[in-house]
């Protein structure tokens, strides 16, 4: 297979939430084996795009194709079972369950692949340390790590991660970035929403920029990172600190 083959394709996707028309024909291609960043200001439709892929909101028009199959009308559990794992914006950690129980639910058969669990413990040592703790008692950064650990305990083909660094301290963001780089080495395809441009340029391969419910720019992350003009046009980035 060609390296640039698309794992997921959105074509003309419109999503309504109640009476609000949020996505106005999103066209996006997610190349297999790459980390695609989805950027854009607040309210541009990034989270709605993620939720629409996951079937949590349904596209009124357009098609979402995954591995050649139209998954637009499928229900969330069916989409998940096709190998798409999701880390939502609010992390979706079950706070009344222990870290272990959160992970048990994500392991399909109920049993862990020991080698994979060890690998996750290496990525996120806190998970091993607080294995028996109630997840609600973890700090924000630890919850985010649990959310990601939970999404990767089963080998997924596509990982959707929505704003993993939101509200986290710089040291934790750094640790997450390193974990994401490790994750990329496994060859998993990732679509990630991120507001932190520095992190986006560090881990992203390709990029889609959204505005007002549409994709307004797609291309290489490196290209966008190097081009201040593009940044100011699509992201409104003017201050030099932002591109650090």
């Amino acid at each position: 297979m060609a390296a640039t083959e698309n794992l997921l394709t959105l074509a003309g996707v419109h999503t309504h939430i109640g009476q609000y028309h949020i996505l106005h024909g999103v066209d996006l291609e997610i190349p297999r084996g790459q980390l695609t960043m989805l950027l854009g200001r607040n309210g541009a439709g990034k989270t709605t795009t993620m939720r629409t892929i996951m079937g949590l909101w349904h596209a009124g028009q357009g098609t979402i194709t995954y591995k050649g199959e139209d998954i637009t009308k499928l229900r969330t559990p069916e989409i998940a079972r096709r190998g798409i794992a999701y880390v939502p914006e609010n992390m979706g950690v079950f706070g009344t369950l222990s870290v272990e129980e959160n992970m048990v639910l994500a392991a399909r058969g109920g049993d862990f692949d020991e080698a994979r669990l060890e690998w996750i413990f290496d990525l996120f040592p806190a998970m091993q340390k607080f294995w028996k703790w109630q997840a609600g008692q973890l700090s924000g950064g630890q919850k985010q790590m649990l959310a990601i650990a939970r999404a990767i305990i089963e080998p997924a083909d596509l990982l959707l991660i929505d704003e993993p660094t939101k509200g986290l301290a710089p040291a934790i963001v750094d640790a997450l970035a390193r974990a994401i780089m490790e994750l990329k080495k496994t060859g998993v395809t990732i679509l990630m929403v991120e507001q932190n441009f520095g992190l986006a340029t560090r881990v992203g391969d390709s990029v889609g920029v959204m505005d007002d419910g549409r994709i307004v720019h797609t291309g290489d992350m490196a290209e966008l990172a190097a081009d201040a003009d593009l940044q100011s046009r699509f992201l409104g980035l003017h201050m030099k600190g932002n591109a650090a």
Partner: protein, 340 residues
């Protein structure tokens, strides 16, 4: 991550006994209420009788409320038709008892209990089947719409109540307790009515079973996770709607169990009994915190005890005691005793 990134709540609990109690204040409300009630009652024998009656009543309410709180927590469904399962359970169970008259009226404790057990199973089966039909036909079309849920489940309740009248007739049916469960054990000054002890034993066994089911099994984990965040459970690949049917059927079966137990407690059953108990059931799940089994358990005990203590101390207030308790608890914890 850095080593200093400690879990946030490590400092929540203050050291010592007071810290331990403060962190689990809701759990201490029940013993606190018992002690508080002793002051005005002032007589060990009366207090013990009232306490046992309160615990028995509370645990029967728990049987009926435990499933309903999960139904709400898991699918955000307001089921006003739950009372119908209580009534149907009571009538089906009583019919079974009538069919088992030789066992039921024998003087052997074992045969009496066997008759009761079979009647309870019939009650649970009837209410469970009805619950399945109710969920498929009435509730499924109105997911996500509270107003429609209230209207259609109320309608279902009325229809089922009238069907009970059609099948079993319009009169209330007296249902005496078997010989072995009449009377009481007497320890000195303290009188413990046998049937109340049975209700307490059944209620505690049910609570223990639900706890094990919810904490030790995968299905239980899924239910707890689903109560907290249904979308995320679906995003992990599980069909919560299937899980919900199971919870709904179990909730209905437990309502049926509560119905037959309550009927034998009152020694009379009517088609409307479910509806009248539902007021206490709703107060219980609100006080307990919607979706919390432990909260529901504590709340049911508080309701049962308060009802009995107040009925003794100030009979005219008894009817409103549940409401007063609800107001007090919600002023203290607006989300209920154990809602997070």
């Amino acid at each position: 991550m850095s080593a200093s990134d400690r879990p946030v709540s490590m400092t929540d609990e203050q050291p010592g006994i007071s810290g331990f109690v403060l962190a689990r204040l809701a759990y201490f409300t029940v013993p606190f209420l018992m002690i508080l009630a002793f002051v005005p009652i002032g007589n060990v024998s009366i207090w013990a009788t009232l306490t046992l009656a309160g615990l028995a009543m509370g645990l029967m309410i728990f049987m009926m409320a435990s499933g309903l709180t999960l139904v709400f927590g898991l699918m955000d469904v307001l089921n006003f038709g739950h009372g119908a399962m209580i009534s149907v359970g009571a009538f089906a169970g009583v019919s079974a008892l009538l069919a088992l008259t030789p066992l039921y009226l024998s003087s052997s404790v074992e045969l009496n209990l066997l008759a009761l057990l079979l009647a309870a199973l019939v009650a649970m089966a009837a209410a469970g089947v009805l619950g399945f039909v109710f969920e498929r036909t009435l509730i499924r079309p109105v997911y996500g719409n509270h107003l429609k849920q209230i209207l259609i489940t109320m309608g279902g309740l009325i229809v089922i109540e009238q069907l009970i009248v059609v099948v079993w007739g319009p009169n209330e049916i007296p249902i005496p307790r078997p010989e072995s469960l009449k009377g009481a054990f007497v320890f000195g000054d303290i009188v413990m009515e046998k049937y109340r002890l049975l209700a307490v034993a059944v209620g505690l066994a049910l609570f223990a079973m639900l706890r094990v089911l919810l904490t030790q099994t995968r299905i239980g984990l899924l239910v707890r996770a689903g109560v907290e965040n249904r979308e995320m459970v679906e995003a992990l690949g599980y069909r919560v709607s299937l899980l919900f049917i199971g919870v709904f059927v179990v909730a209905s079966a437990l309502a049926g169990l509560g119905g037959i137990m309550w009927g034998l407690y009152d020694e009379v059953i009517t088609a409307q009994m479910g509806m009248s108990v539902m007021i206490l059931v709703f107060i219980t799940i609100i006080i307990g915190g919607l979706g919390s089994i432990e909260g529901c358990f504590l709340a049911a005990l508080l309701i049962g005890l308060t009802n009995n203590y107040v009925a003794f101390l100030s009979p005219k207030l008894a009817l409103g005691s549940g409401i007063i308790l609800m107001v007090l608890v919600l002023m203290w914890r607006p989300q209920g005793l154990l809602q997070r």
